[in-house]
Amino acid sequence: MTDFPILKIRSDFPILSQMVYGKPVAYLDNGATTQKPIRMIEAIDKIHREQNASIHRSVNFLSDKMTSLYEEARTTVQNFIGAPKTSQIIFTSGATGSINLVAFSFGESILKAGDEIILSTMEHHSNIVPWQMACERKGASLKIIPVTDIGELDIEAYKNLFSDRTRIVAVTHVSNVLGTINPVKEIVQIAHSHGVPILLDGAQAVQHEPVNVADLDCDFYAFSGHKIYGPTGIGVLYGKEEWLERLPPYQGGGDMIDQVTFEKTTYNVLPFKFEAGTTNFIGAIGMAESMNYLSSIGLENIQRYEQQLRDYAIQKLGAIPQLRMYGTSEHKAAVFSFILNNVHPYDTGLIIDKYGVAVRTGTHCAMPLMQRFGIHGTVRASFCFYNTMEEVDRLCDALNAVLDLMG
């Protein structure tokens, strides 16, 4: 079926051999957070044991080495997403931190009363609430791209949302609930054809397919380290240089300044202007190590294998008649949101957990999307490249057991 070295890959992730309730864990909650490859675990361990020191501002051997590792991590990220310059890579606390940065700095400097921001119905709360907060401060309002019954963005409706008050578009690259892979290149072009910049939320995309921000031509791109097999507390914001230069800083603190007096403070150059205080430099290096690991396997290979998983899961889950799937676009990641007839997602999750199948249930931080489909939550199984066809089977067996138990 595939020459993907799945056994080797699974052995790179120590946690995958954990047993829960006497069964090896089938970890199908990768949309929430991903597991860590040994390379990244060991990189962090080595820093903690041998290399740790403050970056940028101290003058000593350890500090010099640490600074180099940190700035190399920036270059790794740059290459990973195809950014033109390292100075366009800003390390943040996560996708949420990245989006808040843009929503704040853009909001403060650009938004005026009466302005409009375009989001979509399938956004994660992290790509809704920061914009709502900016709108509230500035008297701007949101326009929402609707989602079709199969879980795609309604592109025609999107085109009609633009007005001369539209200031920015913020849309997810891949839906964390439906798995839909949005036609982001087209979506970017449409925004630009109206002279409007666009932020793409890549939290569910960068770990599953090759992403090239220069090719996408988006103005901002945001994602999280912990979802790309890296540590928690680290994330990335990519921005076009012109925008990053133009936006005011977000947080104030050490390292982001040039000169400070109580009368006047001037700011540092990019990317440091947006990195206030001691950043999560160890986390950044860990994330870069995970990216190096992914690159060594090849994002194209990962994508192809995950498509095979997806196709198999569509077939197997489709064979359960009581299962109602949300998100059936052809352009879809291996993410499945569903409800078993008459069974509450929470009950389903609790029971399949006992079979060692780890999923997530609930609204997935996407309440507006739940409202769109008139539901209160789903069961979500989200796969990635260390999952197997057998785990698809285990999920389906567990779901059938739920149906038996609840029947």
């Binding site: 509450h344 997602p345 006992k354 609930g362 138990l405």
Partner: protein, 141 residues
């Protein structure tokens, strides 16, 4: 029966059950048999906020005794609600406030009660106690 005696009774019942499957089955049965809450109370005013399963709770005070009714859209949650009602209903506000709910731990439901578990179970227990406190305050006026 004292609240502590009811808890003992429940602990014994669960001791007779086997692994998780039997426990869940038991809870599911309890949930199915829990008299539905009056439809009048199945609205947002009686909803206990919790991310996942929704729980509606009502309380009434009659002759100094508190009576709870509840419902949930998730059946296992409803089963747990049925247990909680069995423990608390028919007691005075003072008894409810003073009660120590050790049984939850002993019957292996602790994981359902972590403060941040998104099932509203902790919120439900808190809400039951708040009702009791409110009634007590009213009585003392």
């Amino acid at each position: 029966m004292l609240i502590s005696d009811i808890q003992k009774e429940i602990i014994e019942e669960f001791a007779g059950l086997g692994e998780w499957m039997e426990r869940y089955n038991y809870l599911i049965d309890l949930g199915k048999n829990l008299p539905m809450i009056d439809q009048a109370f199945r609205n947002d005013d009686y909803l206990i906020r919790g991310c996942q399963s929704r729980v509606w709770l009502n309380a009434e005070l009659r002759d100094g005794i508190v009576y709870f009714t509840a419902d949930s859209d998730a059946i296992i949650t409803k089963g747990i609600a049925a247990l909680m009602i069995r423990v608390f209903t028919g007691h005075t506000p003072a008894e409810i406030i003073a009660a120590d709910l050790g049984f939850i731990d002993e019957i292996g439901l602790k994981e359902h009660l972590s403060p941040t578990r998104s099932n509203g179970m902790v919120s439900m227990i808190n809400q039951m106690r708040y009702y009791a406190m409110a009634y007590q305050a009213k009585q003392q006026k």
